[in-house]
Structures are given as C-alpha cells and as structure tokens.
C-alpha cells in the first residue's frame, strides 16, 4: 500500500499542472487523476459475482468495506489478462463510491502541463472519447488520459445502477 497523495514532489509548485498516476495495460500507458486514487494494493481474495459482465471480477473486502473490482484489461479488450503476485489494484474514489481497478502495473506519478495534453481523437470503439480527457505526450511516450469517474459511472460499465434501470 502506498500513499500517493504525499508524493507530490517539487514540481507541484506550478498551479496549472495536474498530477497523474501512470499505469500500464499490456503495452499501453494510461493516466488517471491522482486525486481520485485512494490506494494501491495487490489482487487477492476477490469473490465472483454471478451474471455480471466479464470485466467485473467481483467484490473484495477493503478493511470492512465491500469494493467491486473491475479489470480494465478485459474492459479494453486486451489479451493476456493474467493474475499473479505482480497484478495491481488501484483503489479509486469516484463520486461517493470506492472501486478497485485491476491493471498490469503502476509505473509512476507525473505532472503534466496543459500544453502537454492533446485532445483525444474521435475513433475509439471500445473506449469512447467521452471517457478520455486527452492524450498526454511526454517525450516519445503517449499517455491515454482516462476520465476515470466518467468511465466507471457510465452505463456500459454496469457498476452503478442507472436511474433508467427501473429498480
């Protein structure tokens, strides 16, 4: 468990820049707003939920709180979604909820200036541009900036009960 909110580093002096947690899914690098991240832990002890989409791995006990676990690798249709001792769960706070997302690894925390963030192109089929806040470019790396809140509360994620659901 790492407390990331403390590791803001010296670069935090510039008010315009935002900090991102960088993680990888397969060969791709993604970034989410660091302020949404509660903690990082290993993947263990997940109880399967029947009749849920495949990318919802189930629920786990996070210090007495029942937290759903979503595998973003399955959601983004990546092959090779393996679970081993290196598999990482990023626990994020979105809205009033706590949700865990499974990723291959967490690499670092990075500050991005507004000019480093480019608009995301309209093309994604598995990942609609609605859920992206842009593409970050750092040297020759491309970071996909995910609006994690919008993604996880979206209807297609089936994580949050929609009002139209009828329940």
């Amino acid at each position: 468990m790492t407390d990331l909110s403390q590791s803001s580093g010296p670069a935090a002096t510039d008010l315009n820049q935002s900090q991102f947690l960088i993680f990888s899914l397969g060969d791709e690098e993604y970034a989410i707003d660091i302020l949404k991240v509660q903690e990082i832990r290993g993947y263990e002890n997940v109880t399967r939920i029947a009749n849920a989409p495949a990318f919802i791995k189930g629920v786990t006990n996070l210090r007495g709180v029942i937290v759903p676990i979503v595998d973003l690798r399955l959601r983004f249709a990546l092959e090779n979604a393996e679970y081993n001792s290196q598999t990482v769960v990023i626990v994020v706070n979105v809205g009033q909820r706590v949700i865990g997302i499974v990723v291959d690894s967490v690499s670092d925390v990075m500050a991005l200036l507004p000019e480093q963030i480019k608009p995301a192109p309209e093309f994604g089929a598995t990942l609609s541009a609605d859920y992206l806040s842009g593409l970050g470019s750092v040297g020759d790396r491309m970071l996909v900036l995910v609006d994690i809140e919008r993604l996880l509360t979206s209807e297609e994620m089936a994580l949050v009960e929609q009002v139209s659901d009828g329940h």
Binding site: N45, T47, V59, I66, P68, L159, V160, H167
Partner: protein, 695 residues
C-alpha cells in the same frame, strides 16, 4: 466542568423525565387515578422546574411551576381529573418539550405558545378546584403572593438544613450559589468533609434536591427541616394567622423520603449515554477487522506444535473467545427493539381518536423484534403517516361501524416480525377498506393510465402516485404533511417496499417490508464448487439429501422434489449463479428447503458448512443490486461471501430457464404453448413485473 456540561445533563434528564411523564399520563385512569402515578408525574414536573430555575430558563420554569401546582392538587384529590384535563396535561407536556428544544438550541421558546399553555393550566386551576378545598391548599401562597408576585408559590417559607457530603470545593461554591437563588442563606458552616447550609426558602426539600442532582449525586445531599430557627426575614404576622395550614404543609414535607429511593432507582435503570451512530459503526468495523486479524493469527499459530508454545496457544484461544464476545456485544449496540417505535403511537392514536370522534383500540405485536437503530429512526415518519391514514380514512365512526355490524371500537394493529430475511412491519385496521371506484376515478382525473381491468393490487398501488389524494380524503388529520408518495419514497430509500392488502368492509393492511440492510443476520453458510454463500437462516426450513425416488422431471428437464407429499420445484444454485466445478448430480447434492415471499422450493447446494452470525454489508454502497443476492458479508478469513435473496433467486432461476427455453424453442413456441411450464412462466412474468413496479 462548566455550566454547559450541567445544562447538557439537564436537557437529557429532562427529556427522559418528560417521556416518563407522558407514559404515566397515558396510563392514568381519570376516574380512579393511581396516586403513585400522579406522584411520579408531579416529581417529573418538579425536577424539571428545579433545573429550569438553575439555568434561568424562565418560561420553562414558570410553565412547570403552574403545572406542578395543578398536579399537586390532583394528587391530594382536590382536582377531579377528567379526560379533557389529561388532554390539557399532555398538551402541556408537549409545550414543555418544545420549550426544552428551544433552550437546547439556544433560542427562546415561542412566547404565544407559552402564554397559551399557562392560560389553559390557570383556567383549569380556576374552574376545577373546589372553593372549599382551595382554602386549605392555597391560602398560604395567597398571603405571600404580595411579596412574591412572580411565582405563585404553593408552599410556605420554612427553614431547611442542607448538608453536602464529599463535595469538591469548586462544586460547593457553585451549589451554595444555587441555594442562594432558591432562598436566603441563613447560616453556613463548612469543614473538610461536609458543608451545612441553613436556608430559608419557600421551595420544598425535593425541589432543592432536584436542583442539586444536576451537579452532585443524590447520596451526597441530605435535606432536613429545621424546626426551631425561624428566619428573621419572614414576616411572622402573615404566617401566624395561618399556622394550621403551615403545619399540614410541613407534615407533608416530612413524607417525601419514602418516595425518594424509588426516584433514584429509576434514574439508574434509565442510565444511558448518547453516542453518535457513526462512532458505533466505526467500532463495529474495527471489531470486524480485529476478528479477521485474530483468525489469521489463529491459522499461523495452529501450525505450531510442541509444549514450548503451550502458553501462546492457550493465549490464542482466550483471545478468540474474547474477540467473539466483543463482536457480539458491539453488534448488539445498534439493535433496538421495535418498542422504541411503537411506544410513540399510543399517544398519537389517543389524540387522533379523540379528535375524530372514533373509538380505537391500539394493539402492538412483536415489540421485541430487533431492528437497526438507524432504520427505526427512519421508519417513524412513514409509519406515523400510515397510522394517521388508517385512523382517518380506515376506521369508521362508531355509528357507521354499528350499522355495518362491527363492534364500535375499531382495532388498529401494529406488528413487526422477521420474515424471509426481511423485517415486516404491518399497520392493520379493521375499517372500511380502500374504495376501488373512487381511486380509479381520481386516477382518471389525474391523467394516470388506468383501466377497470386492473387488479386490486395495481389499483391500491395508485395511491402511492405523487399528488394522489381523493377530495374526500382531505382533513386536518392526514391531509397535511407527507403524502403516500413520500411514504413510498422513504421506504424505498431504505431499500424496502410497501404492499397494500385491502378488503371492502374488512379493513386495510399496509405492509412495509424492509431488507436486512445494516442488520445482523443469522446465516447458514453453504458451499457450491469453491464458492461460499450465506443463506438467511430464517428462510431455511430443512435440508436433506434427495434420492432418485423423490425426484421427478416435469416437461423435460424441470426438476421437482417430493418432500412429505409436497412437490417442490428444484433450483440448482450452481446453475442459477453459474458456479464452476460444482456437483451436477442432484442425488449427490444437498437440498435445502427454503421459503421466501411465501414461495417454497428446494435449493441444491454442494455442502452445508455451518451456521454463523454475520454482519450484513450493503453491496449497493459501492456497487449495485445483484439479482439473487441481497447483500454481502465478510467471513473469518477476510474474504467476501454473498448473502442469497431466496425470493429473488427463484425469479432469477425462472428468468434463466425462460431465456434458455426461448433459445431452444424459438420457432416451436406454439407447440409447447399448451404445456404446463409455459402457463407457469407466464404467471411468473406477471408477478415479476408487479414486483418490479413495487420497489
């Protein structure tokens, strides 16, 4: 300690006193009042007055003062109690609660309400107390009224010796200051252990004690009348003429000691502290964590062997037992009996019945059913509304009831019970029932989509539509406040739903079904494949191993199990919840006979693991509702187990079956339409939609 701490204590004690007072007032029979109850009401008013004086809550002090005088007359038999007078007393109690609430919030009570309350009490005093009796009781205060116009003291000036034992220096000076406000301090001695004050006062000994009790324990104070020393400040002439009256009063004052121990005892019994609910929740969570840590340690330790670890092993088993006891104790904190809710209704029913001119008997059942505190608090408002509705629209006037061949006294039943992992709260009246035609007509008027072909259940659900109120329904009793749509919304917000059963002429039953969210559940853990599930024990009837002879198939592959001449549908848990590596042979599985929402079936599982109490954790906090699952819990090893929703599991089973069926028989639908399964599944669709509409 500062004055704020004292006033907090006062507010809490005063609230308890007022609640006691109300209970006694309601139980009081005006024809033959129980003297002990009158005494108890008097003492409550008296203690509040004392405290109010101490903290300078003038309106409260004055109201209780007048109230107390009246009560004093009543307990001496000089005031003949009647229903209206008790009503007035109850109204006074409400006014006192309001005043108390105002002071607690740091504001001044409503002046008009205060004056009104005083006026009502004074007019009772003027009209009801007979002239002949009046002289003996009130002549002395009339004499002293000239010197003390603000307080209509009912008791004569007298000297009291107040002895304080083992009181700290700081409290002592505070107490003496308080005494100074109650009367004139004539003499004062103090040494290390105790402090004696001789006080000339018009207050009674118990009033002084009541004030003291907010600061010190009752045992630390003793108060005794001083016979010889008459305070110099008193105008002897004014008393001399009325000496006989003074004597009767002081004789009376000597009698309080027998009642005082009873009072001290009741405060001890009610001893409680108020704690914020989130603090309790935090403790529950922490204890849960502790239990998990303990079982982890236990696992590690169990691998150790040999005598050198004997002390560690015995320590571990002690830890285990203590941790379990702790968990049980902590969990019980949150649970309160339904009595907590039901006890508010006798008053409401009494008042409303009086106002509506109806005769109503209130019956409560299942008061000891335990419910989570936060749910009991949230259920009060909806329940109040339903009770008001039943009284106003349900139960008829006595004449109408007689004409309908019913007893004049209507019966309103409030009941609570645990059923099928839910808590069932019912409001049952034996009134006229709902009027189908009027509801339909009103719904039409409101532009709702209705037809005469709708079933009764659907029609009853219409009254939950927003803004739905038939013109005949508006009255000052239930026309105000929340509507039925708000009732429904509140209950839904708690994760429950409302059902209405009504038969014309026989009455209406409104049933609130609350899920066990937050509650603690007695569960049976079962294993399917490698997965563990919890069955609410309340839904389990029995379990058995099915044999070939008792299993029958119906329409191909629908299984039924014969249990003592009853055929039960079979639901295989592994199939409904897609569990891998489960036992597929019914005869090698265990059939658990379960019942939910009146439906009974056999649930096939691989293994029964055991029974345990589990804390119900809401799945919807961070996730969503899952079909067939009511909630989750955390097992001893820290993993999550899902709690099955028996009724919903059956629906899920039917749905899956249907889906599978429609894939298979896509084109051949017509062929099987005459068969039994289809008719069954059609009726299933209907019930499912009806139930889906309800939550």
């Amino acid at each position: 300690m500062d004055i704020q701490d004292f006033s907090d204590t006062f507010f809490e004690e005063a609230e308890e006193l007022l609640a006691d007072m109300e209970g006694h007032l309601l139980a009081l029979d005006p024809a033959v009042p129980d003297i002990e109850q009158l005494n108890a009401i008097f003492r409550a008013a008296h203690s509040i007055k004392g405290g109010a004086g101490t903290f300078g809550f003038e309106a409260l002090q004055r109201t209780t003062h007048i109230f107390e005088n009246l009560l004093d007359h009543a307990r001496r038999g000089e005031l003949n109690l009647r229903g209206e007078i008790i009503d007035a007393f109850l109204a006074t109690k409400d006014e006192l609660s309001d005043q108390l609430a105002a002071y607690r919030n740091g504001t001044t009570p409503d002046q008009a309400a205060f004056e009104q309350a005083c006026h009502v009490l004074n007019s009772i005093a003027d009209q009801e107390i007979g002239d002949g009796q009046k002289t003996s009781g009130t002549s002395v205060p009339e004499g002293s009224a000239a010197t003390q116009p603000s307080s209509q003291a009912s008791q004569a000036m007298q000297s009291l010796m107040v002895t304080l034992k083992n009181v700290s220096e700081q409290d002592r000076s505070l107490l003496i200051e308080e005494l100074g406000q109650l009367g004139d301090i004539v003499e004062q001695h103090s040494d290390a252990g105790q402090c004696r004050v001789i006080l000339a006062t018009t207050e009674g000994a118990d009033a002084i004690e009541a004030v003291m009790c907010f600061i010190v324990e009752p045992e630390q104070v003793s108060i005794a009348p001083v016979a010889s020393t008459t305070p110099p400040s008193v105008d002897k002439a004014s008393i001399a003429g009325k000496a006989p009256a003074t004597d009767t009063l002081s004789a009376k004052k000597a009698s309080p000691p027998p009642v005082r121990p009873a009072k001290a005892k009741s405060t001890q019994e009610n001893g409680s502290i108020r704690v914020a609910v989130d603090k309790v929740d935090q403790i529950i969570n922490l204890v849960g964590e502790l239990i998990i840590t303990q079982s982890m340690l236990d696992q590690t330790v169990s691998e150790l062997q040999g005598s050198e670890h004997a002390a560690l092993l015995s320590g571990m088993s002690l830890l285990q037992r203590n941790a379990r006891d702790l968990q049980e104790a902590v969990m019980s904190i949150r649970m309160v009996p339904m009595d907590y809710v039901f006890s508010r209704f006798p008053r409401l029913v009494r008042d409303l019945a009086g106002k509506l001119g109806k005769q109503i008997e209130l019956v409560t059942e299942g008061e000891s059913t335990e419910l989570d505190k936060s749910l009991t608090e949230r259920i009060i408002d909806p329940l109040t509304h339903l009770v008001r509705n039943s009284l106003d629209h349900g139960i008829e006037l006595p004449d109408t009831r007689v004409a309908a061949g019913k007893p004049t006294t209507g019966r309103l039943t409030l009941s609570a019970q645990h059923q099928g992992g839910n808590i069932l709260i019912e409001v049952i009246d034996d009134g006229a029932g709902l009027n189908r035609e009027r509801i339909l007509a009103k719904a039409n008027e409101n532009g709702l989509n209705v037809s005469d072909a709708m079933s009764d259940e659907e029609v009853w659900q219409l009254i939950f539509a927003p803004g739905f109120s038939t013109a005949a329904e508006i009255s000052d009793v239930s026309g105000r406040g929340v509507g039925m749509d708000v009732v429904k919304r509140n209950i839904q917000a708690m994760g429950g739903h409302v059902e209405i059963l009504s038969r014309p002429g026989q009455g209406t039953t409104t049933r609130i079904v609350l899920p066990l969210t937050l509650a603690i559940l007695d569960g049976m853990s079962v294993k399917v494949g490698a997965e563990m599930f919890i069955l609410p024990l309340s839904t389990v009837i029995e379990s058995l191993q099915p044999t070939h002879q008792d299993l029958y198939t119906m329409a191909g592959d629908d299984l039924v199990l014969r249990v003592r001449e009853e055929y039960l549908p079979v639901v295989a848990l592994h199939e409904t919840l897609d569990v891998a590596n489960a036992c597929h042979q019914p005869t090698e599985s265990i059939a658990v006979i379960v019942q939910g929402e009146g439906r009974r079936y056999a649930l096939l599982v691989d293994d029964l693991v055991g029974q345990q109490q589990v804390v119900v954790k809401n799945l919807e906090t961070n996730y969503r509702r899952v079909p067939g699952i009511s909630a989750a819990t955390i097992l001893g090893d820290g993993s999550v187990a899902l709690i099955l929703d028996i009724a919903d599991l059956h629906r899920l089973h039917q749905r899956k079956r249907r889906d599978a069926c429609s894939v298979l028989t896509d084109g051949a639908q017509q062929l099987s339409s005459s068969g039994h399964p289809t008719t069954e599944s059609t009726s299933e669709i209907l019930t499912t939609t009806a139930e889906d509409m309800t939550p």
